[in-house]
Protein backbone atom coordinates (compact mmCIF):
# COMPACT_ATOMS: atom_id res chain seq x y z
CA UNK A 1 0.00 0.00 0.00
CA UNK A 2 2.87 2.27 0.90
CA UNK A 3 4.53 1.50 -2.46
CA UNK A 4 1.31 2.31 -4.26
CA UNK A 5 1.11 5.66 -2.44
CA UNK A 6 4.68 6.47 -3.47
CA UNK A 7 3.91 5.53 -7.07
CA UNK A 8 0.77 7.63 -6.98
CA UNK A 9 2.71 10.57 -5.51
CA UNK A 10 5.44 10.23 -8.15
CA UNK A 11 2.81 10.10 -10.88
CA UNK A 12 1.14 13.30 -9.63
CA UNK A 13 4.52 14.99 -9.10
CA UNK A 14 5.62 14.14 -12.63
CA UNK A 15 2.29 15.27 -14.04
CA UNK A 16 2.84 18.76 -12.66
CA UNK A 17 6.57 19.13 -13.20
CA UNK A 18 7.02 17.52 -16.59
CA UNK A 19 7.52 19.96 -19.47
CA UNK A 20 4.28 20.99 -21.11
CA UNK A 21 4.45 19.53 -24.63
CA UNK A 22 3.78 22.07 -27.34
CA UNK A 23 3.96 21.43 -31.07
CA UNK A 24 7.40 21.50 -32.69
CA UNK A 25 6.17 23.48 -35.72
CA UNK A 26 7.06 27.13 -34.92
CA UNK A 27 3.68 28.66 -35.78
CA UNK A 28 1.70 26.03 -33.84
CA UNK A 29 4.23 26.18 -31.00
CA UNK A 30 3.68 29.95 -30.59
CA UNK A 31 -0.08 29.64 -30.96
CA UNK A 32 -0.40 26.88 -28.32
CA UNK A 33 2.07 28.51 -25.93
CA UNK A 34 0.55 32.00 -25.99
CA UNK A 35 -3.04 30.81 -25.79
CA UNK A 36 -2.04 28.57 -22.88
CA UNK A 37 -0.48 31.58 -21.09
CA UNK A 38 -3.51 33.82 -21.78
CA UNK A 39 -5.92 31.12 -20.54
CA UNK A 40 -3.93 30.64 -17.34
CA UNK A 41 -3.64 34.39 -16.70
CA UNK A 42 -7.39 34.88 -17.11
CA UNK A 43 -8.31 31.81 -14.98
CA UNK A 44 -10.17 33.23 -11.98
CA UNK A 45 -9.66 30.02 -9.97
CA UNK A 46 -5.90 30.58 -9.77
CA UNK A 47 -4.17 32.96 -7.38
CA UNK A 48 -1.69 35.57 -8.69
CA UNK A 49 1.14 33.50 -7.24
CA UNK A 50 -0.02 30.34 -9.03
CA UNK A 51 -0.31 32.29 -12.29
CA UNK A 52 3.19 33.74 -11.90
CA UNK A 53 4.64 30.30 -11.14
CA UNK A 54 3.00 28.83 -14.22
CA UNK A 55 4.22 31.63 -16.51
CA UNK A 56 7.74 31.31 -15.10
CA UNK A 57 7.65 27.57 -15.70
CA UNK A 58 6.58 27.80 -19.35
CA UNK A 59 9.04 30.67 -19.94
CA UNK A 60 11.96 28.65 -18.57
CA UNK A 61 10.99 25.74 -20.81
CA UNK A 62 10.21 27.67 -23.99
CA UNK A 63 12.21 30.91 -24.04
CA UNK A 64 15.93 30.87 -24.82
CA UNK A 65 16.76 32.91 -21.70
CA UNK A 66 20.46 32.03 -21.83
CA UNK A 67 20.90 33.29 -25.41
CA UNK A 68 18.76 36.34 -24.63
CA UNK A 69 20.95 37.19 -21.65
CA UNK A 70 24.10 36.97 -23.79
CA UNK A 71 22.55 38.98 -26.63
CA UNK A 72 21.43 41.79 -24.31
CA UNK A 73 24.92 42.05 -22.82
CA UNK A 74 26.33 42.96 -26.25
CA UNK A 75 30.07 42.88 -26.85
CA UNK A 76 30.78 42.70 -23.12
CA UNK A 77 29.85 39.01 -23.18
CA UNK A 78 33.14 38.34 -25.01
CA UNK A 79 35.37 40.17 -22.53
CA UNK A 80 33.64 39.43 -19.21
CA UNK A 81 35.09 36.96 -16.74
CA UNK A 82 33.30 33.61 -16.48
CA UNK A 83 32.28 34.23 -12.87
CA UNK A 84 30.77 37.64 -13.68
CA UNK A 85 29.01 36.20 -16.71
CA UNK A 86 27.50 33.42 -14.57
CA UNK A 87 26.30 35.93 -11.95
CA UNK A 88 24.89 38.12 -14.71
CA UNK A 89 22.97 35.20 -16.23
CA UNK A 90 21.46 34.29 -12.86
CA UNK A 91 20.42 37.92 -12.24
CA UNK A 92 19.11 38.26 -15.80
CA UNK A 93 16.92 35.16 -15.52
CA UNK A 94 15.26 36.44 -12.32
CA UNK A 95 14.82 39.89 -13.87
CA UNK A 96 13.44 38.45 -17.13
CA UNK A 97 10.92 36.17 -15.43
CA UNK A 98 9.64 38.95 -13.19
CA UNK A 99 9.28 41.48 -16.01
CA UNK A 100 7.73 38.86 -18.34
CA UNK A 101 5.07 37.93 -15.79
CA UNK A 102 4.33 41.61 -15.20
CA UNK A 103 4.13 42.39 -18.92
CA UNK A 104 1.91 39.39 -19.69
CA UNK A 105 -0.43 40.23 -16.81
CA UNK A 106 -0.99 43.65 -18.42
CA UNK A 107 -2.27 41.95 -21.57
CA UNK A 108 -4.11 38.95 -20.05
CA UNK A 109 -7.50 39.93 -21.48
CA UNK A 110 -6.14 39.90 -25.03
CA UNK A 111 -7.26 37.83 -27.99
CA UNK A 112 -4.37 36.18 -29.79
CA UNK A 113 -4.09 34.81 -33.32
CA UNK A 114 -1.18 33.53 -35.41
CA UNK A 115 -1.49 34.98 -38.91
CA UNK A 116 1.56 33.78 -40.84
CA UNK A 117 5.16 32.62 -40.57
CA UNK A 118 8.39 32.92 -42.54
CA UNK A 119 11.36 30.59 -42.32
CA UNK A 120 14.35 32.95 -42.36
CA UNK A 121 17.09 30.32 -42.10
CA UNK A 122 17.77 26.87 -40.63
CA UNK A 123 18.04 28.56 -37.23
CA UNK A 124 15.20 31.05 -37.32
CA UNK A 125 11.52 31.25 -38.17
CA UNK A 126 9.55 34.46 -37.71
CA UNK A 127 5.96 33.77 -36.64
CA UNK A 128 3.54 36.65 -37.28
CA UNK A 129 0.60 37.19 -34.98
CA UNK A 130 -1.92 39.80 -33.96
CA UNK A 131 -3.23 40.65 -30.54
CA UNK A 132 -6.41 42.52 -29.69
CA UNK A 133 -5.99 43.80 -26.12
CA UNK A 134 -9.66 44.65 -25.52
CA UNK A 135 -12.86 45.57 -27.29
CA UNK A 136 -12.34 48.64 -29.46
CA UNK A 137 -8.57 48.69 -28.82
CA UNK A 138 -6.29 48.82 -31.86
CA UNK A 139 -4.81 45.49 -32.93
CA UNK A 140 -1.12 44.98 -32.16
CA UNK A 141 1.14 43.15 -34.61
CA UNK A 142 3.59 40.87 -32.83
CA UNK A 143 6.29 38.83 -34.55
CA UNK A 144 8.06 36.02 -32.69
CA UNK A 145 11.65 35.14 -33.44
CA UNK A 146 11.74 31.38 -32.93
CA UNK A 147 15.10 29.62 -32.72
CA UNK A 148 14.75 26.32 -34.59
CA UNK A 149 18.23 24.86 -34.58
CA UNK A 150 16.93 21.96 -32.49
CA UNK A 151 13.95 20.91 -34.58
CA UNK A 152 12.24 19.04 -31.75
CA UNK A 153 12.62 21.93 -29.29
CA UNK A 154 11.84 25.38 -30.72
CA UNK A 155 12.70 28.28 -28.42
CA UNK A 156 11.52 31.90 -28.43
CA UNK A 157 14.32 34.44 -28.64
CA UNK A 158 12.55 37.73 -29.29
CA UNK A 159 9.19 39.46 -29.53
CA UNK A 160 8.89 42.18 -32.14
CA UNK A 161 5.93 44.38 -31.24
CA UNK A 162 4.88 46.62 -34.17
CA UNK A 163 8.43 46.40 -35.49
CA UNK A 164 10.03 47.15 -32.11
CA UNK A 165 12.28 44.37 -30.90
CA UNK A 166 12.04 43.79 -27.15
CA UNK A 167 15.47 42.12 -27.13
CA UNK A 168 17.09 45.07 -28.91
CA UNK A 169 15.36 47.55 -26.58
CA UNK A 170 16.67 45.55 -23.62
CA UNK A 171 20.17 45.39 -25.13
CA UNK A 172 20.28 49.16 -25.69
CA UNK A 173 18.93 49.82 -22.19
CA UNK A 174 21.69 47.66 -20.69
CA UNK A 175 24.30 49.30 -22.98
CA UNK A 176 23.31 52.70 -21.63
CA UNK A 177 23.63 51.53 -18.01
CA UNK A 178 27.03 49.97 -18.77
CA UNK A 179 28.26 53.04 -20.65
CA UNK A 180 27.43 55.37 -17.76
CA UNK A 181 29.17 53.01 -15.32
CA UNK A 182 32.48 52.41 -17.17
CA UNK A 183 31.27 49.07 -18.52
CA UNK A 184 31.07 47.59 -15.00
CA UNK A 185 28.96 44.42 -15.31
CA UNK A 186 28.55 44.26 -11.52
CA UNK A 187 26.58 47.53 -11.51
CA UNK A 188 24.24 46.04 -14.12
CA UNK A 189 23.90 42.85 -12.02
CA UNK A 190 23.08 45.01 -8.98
CA UNK A 191 20.40 46.91 -10.91
CA UNK A 192 18.86 43.64 -12.17
CA UNK A 193 18.81 42.27 -8.62
CA UNK A 194 17.19 45.44 -7.31
CA UNK A 195 14.46 45.12 -9.94
CA UNK A 196 13.84 41.45 -9.10
CA UNK A 197 13.50 42.24 -5.37
CA UNK A 198 11.02 45.12 -5.90
Amino acid sequence: MKKLSILFFLFIFNFYTYAIPYSTEPQEFVNELVNDAINKLSDKNLTSEEKSKYIEKIAIENVDIKALSLYTLGELRKSSEKKDLKNYQIAFEKYFLKSLTSRLSDYSSSKFEVTDFEKKSVNYTIVNSKVTPGEGDPQIKIDWRVYTKQKDKPLIRDLIVEGLSLARTQKEEFASILSSNNGDINILIKKLDEFSKK
Binding site: D106, G136, G163, R168, T169, E172, A175, L192
Partner: protein, 247 residues
Protein backbone atom coordinates in the same frame (compact mmCIF):
# COMPACT_ATOMS: atom_id res chain seq x y z
CA UNK B 1 9.49 91.99 -37.54
CA UNK B 2 12.01 91.69 -34.68
CA UNK B 3 10.42 88.42 -33.50
CA UNK B 4 10.61 87.04 -37.05
CA UNK B 5 14.32 87.91 -37.25
CA UNK B 6 15.04 86.27 -33.89
CA UNK B 7 13.06 83.20 -35.00
CA UNK B 8 15.05 82.96 -38.25
CA UNK B 9 18.33 83.43 -36.37
CA UNK B 10 17.37 80.70 -33.91
CA UNK B 11 16.39 78.28 -36.68
CA UNK B 12 19.64 78.98 -38.57
CA UNK B 13 21.72 78.43 -35.41
CA UNK B 14 19.86 75.20 -34.69
CA UNK B 15 20.34 73.92 -38.24
CA UNK B 16 24.10 74.71 -38.17
CA UNK B 17 24.48 72.96 -34.80
CA UNK B 18 22.52 69.94 -35.98
CA UNK B 19 24.28 69.64 -39.33
CA UNK B 20 27.62 69.64 -37.53
CA UNK B 21 26.47 66.62 -35.51
CA UNK B 22 24.77 64.81 -38.41
CA UNK B 23 27.72 62.48 -38.88
CA UNK B 24 27.26 60.99 -35.43
CA UNK B 25 25.50 57.68 -34.89
CA UNK B 26 21.95 57.80 -33.55
CA UNK B 27 22.99 55.97 -30.42
CA UNK B 28 25.35 58.84 -29.60
CA UNK B 29 23.89 61.63 -27.53
CA UNK B 30 24.14 65.34 -28.37
CA UNK B 31 24.01 66.38 -24.71
CA UNK B 32 22.84 63.47 -22.54
CA UNK B 33 22.78 65.34 -19.22
CA UNK B 34 20.50 68.06 -20.60
CA UNK B 35 18.35 65.48 -22.42
CA UNK B 36 17.88 63.45 -19.23
CA UNK B 37 16.80 66.61 -17.38
CA UNK B 38 14.35 67.50 -20.15
CA UNK B 39 13.12 63.88 -20.08
CA UNK B 40 12.40 64.22 -16.34
CA UNK B 41 10.51 67.44 -17.04
CA UNK B 42 8.53 65.67 -19.82
CA UNK B 43 7.65 62.83 -17.44
CA UNK B 44 6.28 65.35 -14.92
CA UNK B 45 4.40 67.07 -17.76
CA UNK B 46 2.99 63.68 -18.74
CA UNK B 47 2.00 62.79 -15.16
CA UNK B 48 0.31 66.11 -14.47
CA UNK B 49 -1.21 67.05 -17.82
CA UNK B 50 -1.06 64.56 -20.69
CA UNK B 51 -1.82 61.27 -18.91
CA UNK B 52 -4.87 62.55 -16.95
CA UNK B 53 -6.32 64.08 -20.13
CA UNK B 54 -5.59 60.86 -22.08
CA UNK B 55 -7.26 58.77 -19.36
CA UNK B 56 -10.32 61.01 -19.46
CA UNK B 57 -10.34 60.86 -23.26
CA UNK B 58 -10.13 57.04 -23.21
CA UNK B 59 -13.46 56.97 -21.31
CA UNK B 60 -15.28 58.72 -24.16
CA UNK B 61 -17.64 56.59 -26.28
CA UNK B 62 -15.80 54.52 -28.89
CA UNK B 63 -17.34 56.30 -31.97
CA UNK B 64 -16.12 59.69 -30.67
CA UNK B 65 -12.58 58.38 -30.09
CA UNK B 66 -12.50 56.63 -33.47
CA UNK B 67 -13.83 59.78 -35.21
CA UNK B 68 -11.24 61.98 -33.50
CA UNK B 69 -8.43 59.56 -34.41
CA UNK B 70 -9.66 59.49 -38.03
CA UNK B 71 -9.85 63.30 -38.13
CA UNK B 72 -6.28 63.85 -36.89
CA UNK B 73 -4.94 61.08 -39.17
CA UNK B 74 -6.67 62.69 -42.13
CA UNK B 75 -5.06 66.06 -41.38
CA UNK B 76 -1.66 64.33 -41.02
CA UNK B 77 -2.15 62.81 -44.50
CA UNK B 78 -1.64 66.32 -45.93
CA UNK B 79 2.01 66.22 -44.85
CA UNK B 80 2.43 62.75 -46.35
CA UNK B 81 1.46 63.94 -49.86
CA UNK B 82 4.47 66.26 -50.52
CA UNK B 83 6.82 63.89 -48.68
CA UNK B 84 5.73 60.83 -50.69
CA UNK B 85 6.27 62.95 -53.80
CA UNK B 86 9.76 63.99 -52.62
CA UNK B 87 10.54 60.31 -51.98
CA UNK B 88 9.41 59.46 -55.51
CA UNK B 89 6.79 57.09 -54.19
CA UNK B 90 4.02 57.79 -56.69
CA UNK B 91 1.82 54.95 -55.41
CA UNK B 92 1.83 56.50 -51.94
CA UNK B 93 1.11 59.97 -53.41
CA UNK B 94 -2.00 58.40 -54.94
CA UNK B 95 -2.98 56.65 -51.70
CA UNK B 96 -2.49 59.80 -49.58
CA UNK B 97 -4.21 62.18 -52.02
CA UNK B 98 -7.11 59.79 -52.66
CA UNK B 99 -7.51 59.05 -48.97
CA UNK B 100 -7.53 62.76 -48.04
CA UNK B 101 -10.12 63.73 -50.63
CA UNK B 102 -12.43 60.76 -50.00
CA UNK B 103 -12.27 61.06 -46.22
CA UNK B 104 -12.68 64.86 -46.27
CA UNK B 105 -15.81 64.61 -48.41
CA UNK B 106 -17.55 61.23 -48.13
CA UNK B 107 -15.98 60.74 -44.70
CA UNK B 108 -17.41 64.08 -43.45
CA UNK B 109 -14.27 66.18 -42.79
CA UNK B 110 -12.28 63.04 -42.03
CA UNK B 111 -14.31 61.82 -39.05
CA UNK B 112 -14.94 58.58 -40.96
CA UNK B 113 -12.44 56.55 -42.94
CA UNK B 114 -14.21 55.18 -46.04
CA UNK B 115 -10.89 55.37 -47.96
CA UNK B 116 -9.50 52.46 -45.93
CA UNK B 117 -12.46 50.31 -46.92
CA UNK B 118 -11.54 50.71 -50.60
CA UNK B 119 -7.91 49.84 -49.91
CA UNK B 120 -6.32 53.29 -49.58
CA UNK B 121 -3.86 53.10 -46.69
CA UNK B 122 -1.39 55.98 -46.84
CA UNK B 123 1.83 55.74 -44.83
CA UNK B 124 2.60 58.65 -42.56
CA UNK B 125 5.57 60.49 -44.02
CA UNK B 126 7.47 63.55 -42.83
CA UNK B 127 10.61 65.44 -43.86
CA UNK B 128 12.75 63.50 -41.34
CA UNK B 129 11.76 60.27 -43.12
CA UNK B 130 12.34 61.87 -46.54
CA UNK B 131 15.85 62.91 -45.47
CA UNK B 132 16.39 59.35 -44.21
CA UNK B 133 15.32 58.00 -47.62
CA UNK B 134 17.85 60.34 -49.25
CA UNK B 135 20.54 58.67 -47.17
CA UNK B 136 20.98 61.22 -44.37
CA UNK B 137 21.92 59.50 -41.12
CA UNK B 138 19.97 60.30 -37.98
CA UNK B 139 22.79 62.26 -36.33
CA UNK B 140 22.90 62.45 -32.56
CA UNK B 141 19.96 61.87 -30.26
CA UNK B 142 18.37 64.34 -27.86
CA UNK B 143 15.08 65.12 -26.14
CA UNK B 144 12.96 68.21 -26.78
CA UNK B 145 10.72 69.74 -24.10
CA UNK B 146 7.12 68.46 -24.45
CA UNK B 147 7.77 67.11 -28.01
CA UNK B 148 9.99 64.29 -26.70
CA UNK B 149 12.74 62.20 -28.39
CA UNK B 150 14.33 63.28 -31.63
CA UNK B 151 17.59 63.22 -33.61
CA UNK B 152 19.53 65.90 -35.46
CA UNK B 153 17.95 64.83 -38.77
CA UNK B 154 14.43 64.57 -37.39
CA UNK B 155 14.55 67.97 -35.69
CA UNK B 156 15.59 69.62 -38.96
CA UNK B 157 12.73 67.65 -40.53
CA UNK B 158 10.35 68.96 -37.89
CA UNK B 159 11.20 72.57 -38.79
CA UNK B 160 10.95 71.82 -42.52
CA UNK B 161 7.56 70.12 -41.96
CA UNK B 162 6.07 73.45 -40.96
CA UNK B 163 7.08 74.88 -44.36
CA UNK B 164 5.80 72.10 -46.62
CA UNK B 165 2.77 70.89 -44.66
CA UNK B 166 -0.31 72.38 -46.37
CA UNK B 167 -2.13 72.35 -43.01
CA UNK B 168 0.67 74.38 -41.37
CA UNK B 169 0.63 76.67 -44.42
CA UNK B 170 -3.00 77.66 -43.87
CA UNK B 171 -2.86 77.74 -40.07
CA UNK B 172 0.53 78.79 -38.63
CA UNK B 173 1.44 80.91 -41.66
CA UNK B 174 -2.18 82.08 -42.02
CA UNK B 175 -2.06 81.80 -45.83
CA UNK B 176 -4.98 80.89 -48.03
CA UNK B 177 -5.16 77.60 -49.91
CA UNK B 178 -8.17 76.72 -52.09
CA UNK B 179 -10.10 79.45 -50.29
CA UNK B 180 -9.38 77.97 -46.84
CA UNK B 181 -7.40 79.54 -44.02
CA UNK B 182 -7.00 79.25 -40.26
CA UNK B 183 -4.72 80.33 -37.46
CA UNK B 184 -2.07 78.97 -35.06
CA UNK B 185 -4.74 77.93 -32.56
CA UNK B 186 -6.22 75.52 -35.14
CA UNK B 187 -2.76 74.02 -35.74
CA UNK B 188 -1.88 73.53 -32.09
CA UNK B 189 -5.39 72.24 -31.25
CA UNK B 190 -5.07 69.49 -33.88
CA UNK B 191 -1.49 68.63 -32.82
CA UNK B 192 -2.51 68.48 -29.13
CA UNK B 193 -5.48 66.26 -29.97
CA UNK B 194 -3.16 63.97 -31.96
CA UNK B 195 -0.90 63.69 -28.90
CA UNK B 196 -3.82 62.93 -26.57
CA UNK B 197 -5.24 60.33 -28.98
CA UNK B 198 -1.82 58.62 -29.27
CA UNK B 199 -1.26 58.72 -25.50
CA UNK B 200 -4.72 57.29 -24.90
CA UNK B 201 -4.08 54.39 -27.31
CA UNK B 202 -0.88 53.59 -25.40
CA UNK B 203 -1.88 53.90 -21.73
CA UNK B 204 -1.22 50.21 -20.99
CA UNK B 205 1.95 50.13 -23.11
CA UNK B 206 3.45 53.15 -21.30
CA UNK B 207 2.52 51.82 -17.87
CA UNK B 208 4.02 48.43 -18.69
CA UNK B 209 7.21 49.99 -20.04
CA UNK B 210 7.56 52.31 -17.05
CA UNK B 211 7.03 49.43 -14.62
CA UNK B 212 9.47 47.07 -16.35
CA UNK B 213 12.34 49.35 -17.33
CA UNK B 214 15.53 49.72 -15.36
CA UNK B 215 16.38 52.87 -17.32
CA UNK B 216 13.22 54.27 -18.91
CA UNK B 217 15.13 57.03 -20.72
CA UNK B 218 17.21 54.44 -22.63
CA UNK B 219 14.20 52.19 -23.33
CA UNK B 220 12.30 55.08 -24.92
CA UNK B 221 15.39 56.13 -26.86
CA UNK B 222 15.71 52.62 -28.31
CA UNK B 223 12.00 52.46 -29.14
CA UNK B 224 12.09 55.89 -30.82
CA UNK B 225 15.15 55.01 -32.95
CA UNK B 226 13.74 51.61 -33.99
CA UNK B 227 10.40 53.20 -34.89
CA UNK B 228 12.07 55.86 -37.05
CA UNK B 229 14.19 53.21 -38.84
CA UNK B 230 11.02 51.23 -39.58
CA UNK B 231 9.17 54.30 -40.83
CA UNK B 232 12.00 55.19 -43.20
CA UNK B 233 12.09 51.61 -44.52
CA UNK B 234 8.26 51.45 -44.53
CA UNK B 235 8.67 48.05 -42.95
CA UNK B 236 8.21 46.47 -39.54
CA UNK B 237 10.82 43.74 -40.10
CA UNK B 238 13.30 44.01 -37.25
CA UNK B 239 17.00 43.88 -38.11
CA UNK B 240 18.79 40.59 -37.49
CA UNK B 241 21.81 41.28 -35.31
CA UNK B 242 21.81 37.99 -33.37
CA UNK B 243 24.96 36.89 -35.15
CA UNK B 244 26.23 33.48 -34.16
CA UNK B 245 24.62 33.15 -30.76
CA UNK B 246 24.10 29.41 -31.07
CA UNK B 247 23.63 27.12 -28.13
Amino acid sequence: MMIKRIKNLFISALIITLISTAGLKASEECFEGVSRSIFKFNMVFDDIILEPIAKGYSKLPEPIKAGTGNFTSNVATLLSIPNSLLQGNIKQVGHATGSFFINSTVGILGFFNPAEKIGLKPHREDVGQTLGKYGFGPGCYFVLPVLGPTTARDSIGLIADSFIDPFAHVTIQEKELFGMSGNSLDYFSVKSTTAVDFRSDNITNFESLEKNSIDLYSSLKSIYLQDRENKIKNSTDAQDDWGNLDN
